[in-house]
Each structure stands twice: as C-alpha cells, then as structure tokens.
C-alpha cells in the first residue's frame, strides 16, 4: 500500500486512553460498530451514486442563512 497520511480518530491520545481505559467493558458495542462498518463498506459502492464524483462536483448551492 502506498505511503500516505491517514487520520486515526479512534487513536487520538494514547496517554489519555491508557489512563481511562474503559474500552474493554464496551467491547461488545465496539464489535457491533465494527461489524456494521464492515457491512457498510461491503455495500457502499452500490449505495453511492453511480457517478458520485461527478455529482459532488456539480453539487453547488446558493448561500443561505
């Protein structure tokens, strides 16, 4: 895989993480979210617009409030 910067919002601050460390007690919730994310990634190309990139380019709104 090519070198690139990639954000890791789930590993924000190791010091704080270690200090608090309640992650274990919520592992079932974490597992559920991870499984749902995997499912979403499996189907996302079907859910995304056929020409998603074209659509996002043409998506222009008038400014509002």
């Amino acid at each position: 895989m090519a070198e690139r910067t990639h954000r890791e919002p789930q590993r924000r601050d190791d010091d704080v993480s270690d200090a608090a460390a309640p992650a274990a007690q919520d592992s079932s919730e974490g597992t559920r979210l991870k499984a749902e994310l995997d499912d979403l990634l499996d189907e996302i190309d079907e859910v995304l617009e056929t020409n998603a990139e074209e659509f996002v380019k043409s998506y222009v709104q008038k400014g509002g409030q």
Partner: protein
C-alpha cells in the same frame, strides 16, 4: 430562576434537481406547494410582528439591510403544518421550522418529523417532474465550494437577564460544543485556504464565521446572533437565535446540541455559570477546534490559559452537574434535562477515553470512521472526490442513498413516535393550539405565525387570536374547548377571544 427553555430548530436543506433544469427556488417552491396541496387547505404565513432587523444590543441601531428586510421579501412560498411547524422557501432552499417544543427530546422528535416531511414532499413533487428527473435533498450546511446555509436553534430566554451576560455565558459553549455535536466535513472552505489543507474537520459551519457578535445571518456571520425578535411578549422574553450549529443526522447529536445549550442558558439565568472559560479569540477558536479532529488543538482563553475544545466541554459539563444538583432540571424538562446531561457526559467520556462508542452518537465521528475505513480499504488519498461524495451522501435524505442511516447511529425517539409527529403538534406549548386548529378548522384559518392566528368566521372582519405566551394554548388548557367546539365562531367565543 431560569424560565422554561421552550425551543425549536429551523433547517435549511440543500436541494438539487437532476434530469431537469436545476432551479433551486422553483424546486423548493414545488416541494412546499406539493406538500401543502396534499393537506387540502393552505393557510399563509402572517408577517405581522416579524422584525428580523431588530438588534438585541440596541433596538435603535440602523438596519444593516437598509430599507425593508430582504429576508422577508424572499419568503414567498410559505405554509403552516398540522404539527405546528412552518414549511417554506428561504434563500433558494426549502426550510422547515419545527413547532415550539418544551425540551430537547421533543426537539429531536419534531426535527426528525421534519426530515419525513421533506421526504414526503419530494415524493409528492416527483409527479410534477419530467420523466427521469428527481429532486435530491441533503440535510447538510455547505456544498463544499464555499456556500453555506443554516440550521438554527431557538431558545426562550428571560428578558431580565442582560444580553451581555448571555453573550459572555454562551461563547465558551458555542466555540467548543462542535466537539460533541459537529456534523463533520471533508476539506476546508475557509477563504484563502486550500481545501486539501484540512482533510477532515469537525464542523460543517466553522469556516463561515467572521464575527463574534452581530445581527447578520447570511454575510459576516456572527457566532452569537443578536436578532431580537422574541415571537412572544417582548417585555418578558427574548428568543436566542443560534446560528452557529450544524444540521445533525444523528438523533443523539441533536439531543446533545439542544439539551446542552438549553442547560447552559438555564445556568446563565440561574447565575450558575462563570466566565472563566471565555475564549480570547472566539472566531479563530471555532476554526482551530474544527480543523483538528484529533482533538489535541488548544485555544487561548481570555485569562491566558490554553484548553482543548474537549477540555472546555468537560469543564462546562462539570459545572452543569453542580447546577443540576442545586437547581434541578425543571427549566429544561425533568426527563429531557436529565437525559441530555447524561448523554452529554457520555459523549465527552467516550471522546476522552477513545472507546469507540461515540461513533454511534456523534455525526463527525461516525462520518470520519466511514471515510477512514473506505480510504484504507480502497487506498484513496485524503480529500479525494470519492471521499467528498461519501461526505455528501452521509446527509442524503433518500433512504436508498443515505449513509447516515447505515452508520449504526443510535436513535433517541422511536420511529413510530417520529411518524406520529408529522401530523401531531406537541401537547405542551402553544403549537398545540396552532396545530389542532389547522387540523380541525383548516378552512377557517386565513394565516398563522408563531404568536398569532387569523380566522375567517365567514362574516364580520377577520379575527386575530394573539398567542404571546409560548406555554399557553397547550392540550391541558385548550384541548377540550377545541374538541367541543363545532365551529370556529364557537371556539373563539368559548376562548373569549
């Protein structure tokens, strides 16, 4: 003592026509008209008492709009719904204002009902479109190209509290609350900055604020808006018009956004919020916090300290817990106040410990997880059009396209309660009277607005019923009278109106 935090949410939706001319004003009008026609009758909006150019700092300041209020003139297509909401066209967007609600849980419920109204209006309007054309609606706040549109909140505030105290009290929260309820965005739209300079940020709106305090909402947007238009007895109330928030797909985010803000305002009224968290440069701070989804960026406070947005939220929540112990949650609703405080604390704790639970509650966290995972799996560079498409489609209201609906977000209000709220008004504010009168006597309602209704009795001059007290006109007070009246004349007579 804090007064009841009656509140509401106004959302300007993004609108796009495919397969036909993309005219947002015509398409927005089509949506509102198609929905209103389904209801059979369509009372107009009554502009009596609308004064968007009145400034809370000084009512005699000259209007920045010059002569007349363009915001009023552009509101051409307007209707009032049986649930007490207002559905209209504003600035080339369809906009839905929820009815006045008593607490944050009901704000979630009627905000979600508003999404359903938009979905139904799209379906109704589609019959009037050429074959192959469709109207696409997004509940977002920017097009990624520098154009923004708002999701505003409104809160009832005690007129006796000096406006300067409200401003100093809310600034710390308005700068930092995006951490617990921002909707997330790929790229920067800050003028002069390359979009790619910020691969992902916390808030949809942060790039668009230029002033700390001010009257405008479409240019030079201020963090604290001073529009002084209470839609209620002006001697007793203010309405704080909050324009700095993001439109949320996550119900927990909406609950935390509205619930925490109602609590902060109640704390200000109770004299229970200090100003030790006042940011030194609020406009810069909003952006500094938004542009760092690692949550490590610190901002400068007025007293010289530096804190992260999450630190500020934690400190505000701790003060809120102390306020709660001393004053109780009645001003923000017993159940909703307790629930908002709990959820707010859980979101902060999850972001602090990084346990992953926030992905089911906070839009920006849920969105960034999808974008990160997609980028990793397909080896896509940060900020690429593919990731922008995922960002946009997170907010897409089409059930078959909406990514938020597939993100594992936790609901606050059961789906059947949301569906009932499409046609039912809240029972515990004046919206009950407005909604019920429209449900029963629609053909006699000529016009309505937030604080009055105009009836046509079929003879005599039109009759205006004033509703300047937001907590009158509730089911407890008027349900029987409305039920037992067979005509509007009888209703008005029994009300002594």
């Amino acid at each position: 003592m804090a007064i009841p935090k009656v509140c509401g949410i106004e959302t300007e939706y993004g609108i796009f026509v495919r397969g036909a001319e993309n005219d947002p004003v015509a398409a927005s009008s089509l949506l509102v008209n198609a929905y209103a026609d389904r209801l059979g009758s369509r009372p107009g909006w009554d502009y009596e008492h609308e004064r968007p150019s009145s400034d809370a700092r000084d009512p005699d300041l000259p209007s920045p709009f010059g002569v007349g209020d363009p915001e009023l003139e552009s509101r051409l297509v307007n209707t009032v719904l049986r649930n007490g909401a207002r559905f209209y066209v504003d600035h080339a967007h369809p906009e839905l204002s929820t009815p006045e609600v008593r607490d944050a849980i009901d704000a979630v419920r009627w905000d979600a009902a508003g999404e359903e109204v938009l979905r139904r209006s799209v379906e109704l309007a589609s019959r009037h479109l050429p074959d192959g054309a469709e109207i696409v609606i997004h509940k977002n706040n920017s097009d990624g190209k520098g154009n923004s549109y708002g999701c505003h909140e409104n809160y009832l505030v005690d007129r006796q509290v000096p406006f300067g105290r409200v401003v100093n009290g809310v600034l710390a929260h308005f700068v930092s609350r995006q951490v617990v309820c921002g909707a997330g965005k790929v790229g920067s739209e800050f003028p002069g900055q390359e979009p790619s300079a910020v691969p992902f940020q916390i808030s949809q709106r942060a790039d668009f604020f230029e002033e700390q305090v001010g009257l405008e909402t479409t240019i030079r947007r201020p963090i604290v808006n001073t529009r002084d238009e209470p839609h209620a007895d002006p001697m007793v109330y203010r309405r704080l018009h909050v324009i700095c928030g993001d439109a949320n797909m996550s119900q927990v985010s909406t609950l935390v956004k509205v619930g925490s803000t109602a609590i902060i305002l109640a704390m200000i009224e109770d004299g229970a919020l200090g100003d030790e968290l006042l940011p030194a440069n609020p406009v810069t701070a909003v952006r500094q916090i938004s542009h760092d989804p690692t949550l490590r960026a610190t901002i400068l406070l007025d007293d010289g300290r530096r804190m992260t947005g999450l630190d500020m939220q934690e400190a505000l929540h701790e003060q809120a817990l102390r306020w709660f112990d001393r004053f109780g949650p009645e001003s923000v609703g017993a159940e909703a106040g307790t629930e908002s405080l709990r959820r707010w604390g859980e979101v902060i704790a999850s972001l602090r410990s990084d346990d992953g639970r926030a992905a089911a509650w906070v839009d920006w966290v849920a969105k960034s997880r999808i974008i990160d995972a997609y980028a990793t799996r397909h080896d896509v560079a940060p900020g690429s059009p593919r990731l922008r498409a995922i960002d946009l489609q997170y907010h897409d209201l089409r059930p078959e396209r909406c990514l938020a609906a597939r993100a594992g977000l936790e609901d606050v209000v059961p789906a059947e309660a949301v569906l009932r709220a499409v046609d039912e008004p809240p029972s515990d504010t004046r919206a009950f009277f407005r909604g019920r009168c429209l449900g029963k006597f629609a053909e006699s309602v000529v016009a309505a607005n937030w604080d009055s209704m105009v009836f046509d009795l079929g003879h005599d001059p039109l009759r205006r019923v004033q509703m300047s007290e937001p907590l009158r006109g509730t089911a407890d007070l008027v349900a029987n009278v409305i039920d037992e009246s067979s005509t509007v004349g009888e209703l008005l007579e029994r009300l002594g109106a």
